[in-house]
Point group: C2
Chain length 409, copies 2
């Protein structure tokens, strides 16, 4: 398949810009034109559409060393390089880099911003070709499968047939499951982490709270805030605060913040952030609005609500989650964390049971951690060992060369 | 103590107005004038102040059959009569009434609206005597102990020495604990239900989200919305939605709502309330703002954040929760619910351990329920049996007459 006359591309190699050390990476984007529209589950299409992505490491000759990382709700493609807006290290730089569990000396890592996002891929803040103004709510509602379909078009464009691994946490994990179910022949191994095969009622509830907070902000202007040169920052901050509680565990919060006061000896008998936890959550909300588009938050949370892998892949009434993985050859490593209450271990077990029911190759690791859902982003040695071990074993089986000794690490 | 020249009072006996049957009750209020200010933990005072309360049943001659019920965050004094604003049955009418676990044929039940509330007791929407406008944020920040101090002034006013029982759930349970710690000689039995001896970090976080949602609403006007003839309804609704999730259990939500769609066969690919859980939470938010004052929500949640019984009653460094109950003669029945994650069973155990450490008389009942925190408001037979049994046994010990047979029930 040749795209020479089709998509337009742009890449900027920016080696050495990282505080973390010399991880070379490419900042790229590809735009698919009107003749290659993205077909959505809703029946609508998006055209043109752009996918912004980063790559780390070197693609081998056989193109057999590709790891696709899928990012979570508020993540983006900046996995292991300093973030262009915040200047902070990439969201998974503990996991991805030379000599790290996802070893960029050995693997070629790709991560793209999800469709519907706000870091370069087409989303509600992108210009609507109908009027060249930002889409706002005229952007079609997307699904996890739509995100994956867009990623698949990127992988096609890069002329890559098979992904050595697709991995990701949280709704990144949902994308991993969707990849395995939709493109089983293209996914050699899959690592869904801290995730679920369908969004629970309680989680839909939390998303609904976040969306209502945004939509209650008069600066939201029914999604047309771009035209008013406003942003619904207060509503988005409240949404982030509520969501952030679900990312931590009760015990970790209690241990880290407890009832400690923030920069004071006693309570003020007022409504300031007396407690550290209040101050922390307000700060999280405040920082978040600097880098995230409120409409993108609406669209991505909606995609998550809609995710129900069993229902989406049922070909006949009564089909179960196992049927979504029928005849899969993919080797799975399902990871959960004991204190994650957003996507608790029982959700991982449900996935594992479904995989077992179709005799899939599956490892299951329930990592003991008190860090809640966010554990997948943090330095958890047991977790890293599991990922490193699984990838190394799968790489050996796939005949991948070991990482060159002393090279670039 | 004579109050003849002191407080002003008003009562309206309204027997038979209940849909639920002929429970006679009194709707009363008492106003303490400037010479009897309410002294607050903050060092400030409130004067004058009004306590609005309901009574059910008949006070016996010895005044020994009084049960004081303490209401939760968004509850009020309308325990077992139809609510004057919503027309709905009282919030605990399953528990309180003739022949019910809290048998109004036997006990004289009192419930007063908390200070800081919005159903007749003085709160931020009450007129500030300084300018006769609603207090707004000029109302002093109150604590659970302040609420209890106001209740004690009501009990004094009614010339009642000893309470046969103080009972309540959630932050009503905090008031129960505060009563037992502050007025041990006046509390014969205490039933703290679905509560904790201090508000956890996570729960402070959820309260902070609710308050930020209210304060982010431009109709809040820095608490002066009364002057603008506005109400921060959208912000308050978001606060209620977020809090409501914490009142239910994940399993009950999943069972009741799951991923069921609301009045439709398939998702709309839009931002309407596609799912039943979304529709339910929006409705809860929408209904709540009709009956509750946003500033009262700020003040009461703040009082809850500040609650830390051990710290508040520590007379020297190193004092533990047990010291708050030292030398108590009160007989306790501590109740928790297995699926309550707002005040989980471990919080009840902490209270029980502290009581055991001072050799207090304590029963502990952990009720198996999938209904989450809200279980204390619902028809839970095992819970009712426990309350009925504990009260009957304590009443026998206290020499209370059994309920007259066939009388008014």
């Amino acid at each position: 398949m040749s795209h020479t006359d089709g998509p337009s591309k742009g890449c900027s190699n920016q080696p050495g810009k990282n505080k973390q050390g010399p991880i070379p990476y490419d900042s790229c984007s590809v735009t698919f034109r009107d003749d290659q529209p993205l077909r959505l589950d809703s029946g609508e299409t998006i055209a043109p559409y752009t996918i912004a992505y980063q790559t780390y490491g070197t693609l081998n000759e056989q193109k057999s060393n590709v790891i696709l990382i899928c990012h979570a709700l508020t993540g983006d493609q900046h996995v292991a390089n300093d973030h262009p807006l915040t200047g902070k290290p990439g969201w998974w730089d503990v996991m991805v880099g030379p000599g790290k569990p996802v070893d960029t000396n050995r693997y070629f890592v790709i991560c793209s911003n999800v469709i519907g996002g706000c870091m370069g891929s087409t989303g509600p803040s992108s210009p609507n070709p109908a009027n060249f103004k930002p889409y706002g709510l005229d952007f079609p509602v997307i699904t996890i499968a739509d995100m994956v379909r867009a990623q698949a078009s990127l992988i096609d464009y890069l002329d890559i047939d098979t992904l050595f691994c697709v991995m990701g946490g949280s709704i990144g994990g949902m994308q991993v499951l969707e990849w395995a179910a939709s493109y089983p022949q293209r996914v050699l191994t899959a690592i869904p982490i801290a995730t679920a095969a369908r969004h629970s009622s309680q989680n839909i509830g939390f998303n609904a709270v976040g969306r209502q907070a945004i939509m209650a902000d008069p600066d939201w202007h029914n999604g047309r805030y771009y035209d008013h040169d406003k942003r619904p920052s207060k509503g988005l901050a409240v949404a982030r605060m509520a969501a952030h509680i679900t990312y931590l565990s009760e015990e970790a919060m209690q241990e880290k913040f407890g009832r400690n006061l923030q920069d004071r000896d006693k309570v003020t008998f007022g409504f300031d952030a007396d407690f550290q936890i209040e101050s922390y959550l307000r700060y999280q909300g405040f920082k978040f609005v600097e880098r995230f588009d409120a409409n993108a938050y609406l669209y991505i949370t909606r995609a998550v609500d809609y995710f129900d892998l069993a229902a989406d892949h049922a070909s006949k009434p009564g089909d179960s989650l196992a049927d979504a993985f029928k005849d899969t050859k993919t080797r799975f490593c399902v990871v959960s964390f004991t204190s994650d209450w957003l996507y608790p271990t029982v959700e991982a077990r449900t996935i594992v049971k479904a995989l077992n029911a179709v005799a899939a190759k599956v490892s299951f690791v329930d990592i003991t951690s008190d860090k809640g859902h966010d554990a997948f982003l943090l330095n958890e040695p047991e977790f890293f060992d599991a990922i490193r071990g699984f990838l190394s074993s799968a790489a050996r089986q796939a005949g991948l060369q070991p990482a060159p000794v002393g090279d670039r690490s």
